[in-house]
Every structure is written in structure tokens, then in C-alpha cells.
Amino acid sequence: MTKQEALHIYLLRMGDDSLILGQRLSQLCGHGPILEEDIALTNVALDLIGQATLFLEYSGELAEQPKTNDELAYLRLEKEYVNAILVEQPNGHFGDTILRQFLFDAYRKPLLEKLLDSNDERLAGIAEKSLKETKYHLRHSSEWVIRLGDGTEESHERIQNSLESLLRYAHELFFENEVDKLLIAEGIVPSAESIFPIWEKTLNDVLKEATLTLPKNNWKFQGGREGRHSEHMGYLLAEMQYMQRTYPNMEW
């Protein structure tokens, strides 16, 4: 594997995480629990779609046969998407949505911070822009986890359940294979090892303030990074790709 191939895949992961999570959040536009929060979640969705646009654009340029970001976003097979399984999970109730977001933001923020020092200038630039947005997302999601955890009995129970069902997908965010090894050696990306403790600390701090408890079940799912997704993914793609698949080769 060359450096270029590795970077292409790495950027695809970053782009797919943003794209698929942005797609999920955009399903909620118009259906938020209260108008103010509808607007807030849509802002997050917009930021993520914007980040996906940049990561996929760069990734596409590095592909063996160069592709546009739209081609990558809309015209791959399910097994070619390399987002983490976490981000494709359905929105569920508001607690599920927020917890999914929190687990992701808590990982994404330190990752982007480390990417500021990447030897790849363009990647560092995208990270810089995205970091400003992601800091805000993390604040938003962690404040909500705390509110729901330490709110009413009902909200506490609901978000504790969200944690039980979603935490198992979070560990995949720290997946590494030869792509990462090569890029870490080149000083282009940070190691999962360097991010995991930061993520874990954020998780523990927020859960503590939210009076939530870490689930005992420590089962760890993975597969998304290698293109093996959950059953939800096919439906998400069917919807997202609908226009491009129904009307091939047209401009919109």
C-alpha cells in the first residue's frame, strides 16, 4: 500500500463518518423536540455535510481513478462505505440521538486537534475548519447528556438505556489497520492510542456529572471500517442514493 492509497482510505473514513451522521441528523429537520433544538441539530447536520464535502473531495482526488465528492457520496456500494457502525444507527428517541452524537464528538474533537499537526497540510487545514464546529457540537451534546441524565427519572432511565445500547459501537472509532500504521509512521495522522484516553476521560467526566453509569456489558462491535455494516445501512443508502440511482448521469 502506498501513502496515497492509505490517505485516500483514511479520508474516506472521515468523510463517511461525517456524511452518514449528517444524513441521520438531517432526517430530524422539522421533527425536533422543540423549535430551538430543531435548529441546533440542523446546524450540526449542516456542519457535518460540509465536512463530508471537504474530506470526500480530497479523498476522491487521491483515488486510483479520481472521483468527485458527489460520486463518492452517492455512487458506492454499501460495502465500500467505511464509516463506523455507530453513526449509521437510527435516530431513535432524542436521548439516542444525543448520546450517539456525544460518543462521536468526544472522539472527533481530540482527533481533529491532533490532525492540526498533520504533515499533510491540506488535511490539517480541513481539520482546523472542522475543529471549530466540532468543539461546539461536543459542548452541545455533552450538555444535553448531562441534562437528560440528571433531569427527571424518566429522562435518566431513557438515556441510561441509550448508553447501554450504543456504547458497544463506540470502540470501533479506535479501529486501526495497516492504513493507520502507515500514516502514523509518516506523521500524517495520530494513533488511536493517543486519542482513546482523551475520549475515555470526556466520557467518564460527562457520565459522572450526568449521574449515569458505565454499562457492564463491554461487547465491542466492529466492521464498518471494513465495509461490514448493520442492517440499517442499506435503507439509509437507498434513501440517500435514490435520485442518483433512479436518474443516472444527470446534473442537478
Binding site: I34, E36, I39, N43, H140
Partner: protein
């Protein structure tokens, strides 16, 4: 103003750029001040309309009574000497 058991109402003030006053832009609902600031950012500054936000619980605002408008504000209308145009400056004098 009647209030349902939902979130309280906050008045939002935005400073659009350095050197200008905060200006009232509207209101919104939020459960606490932190959320009110966040919501204000998302609702009232989506197009970079602001660099600083104040939020105040609406029920903490005391307004002057419009029926006393006359006694409150009219006296100042007759104090024309507070305004620079009250004074004659000879032609040819500038920077004043």
C-alpha cells in the same frame, strides 16, 4: 405574561460588531442561561450577525410605563441646548 410549564422566555441582545451596542433582536425559550446563549447563537446569528450575545430572562425586565411617556421623555425634548445644532458657529470654522 402567562407562562406554561415549559421553558422560560429569554430576551436576546446581539452585538453585531466590535464598537457597537448590544441590540435587542427578539426572544426565545430555554431551560437555563447556557442553553439560552446557545439557542440565541443558532437562532439569531446563523448569518454571522453577531460577535457577542446577552440573554436576559424576560420576566427580569422592568419597562417604563407608556402612559407616563410624557413625563419621562418630554422634558428632555425641550432641552435643546443638549444638542450641538443649538449653537451658532461662524462660517469658516471647521473640525467642530
Amino acid at each position: 405574561m402567562s407562562e406554561s410549564k415549559g421553558w422560560p422566555l429569554w430576551e436576546v441582545f446581539v452585538r453585531s460588531k466590535q464598537g457597537l451596542n448590544h441590540k435587542h433582536v427578539g426572544s426565545l425559550r430555554a431551560s437555563d442561561a447556557t442553553m439560552a446563549i446557545k439557542n440565541a447563537r443558532d437562532v439569531y446569528t446563523r448569518r454571522a450577525e453577531g460577535i457577542s450575545i446577552w440573554v436576559v430572562p424576560s420576566n427580569n425586565i422592568t419597562a417604563s410605563d407608556p402612559s407616563e411617556e410624557d413625563s419621562l421623555f418630554e422634558p428632555s425634548q425641550t432641552k435643546v441646548y443638549r444638542h450641538p445644532t443649538f449653537y451658532d458657529v461662524p462660517d469658516g470654522i471647521s473640525h467642530m
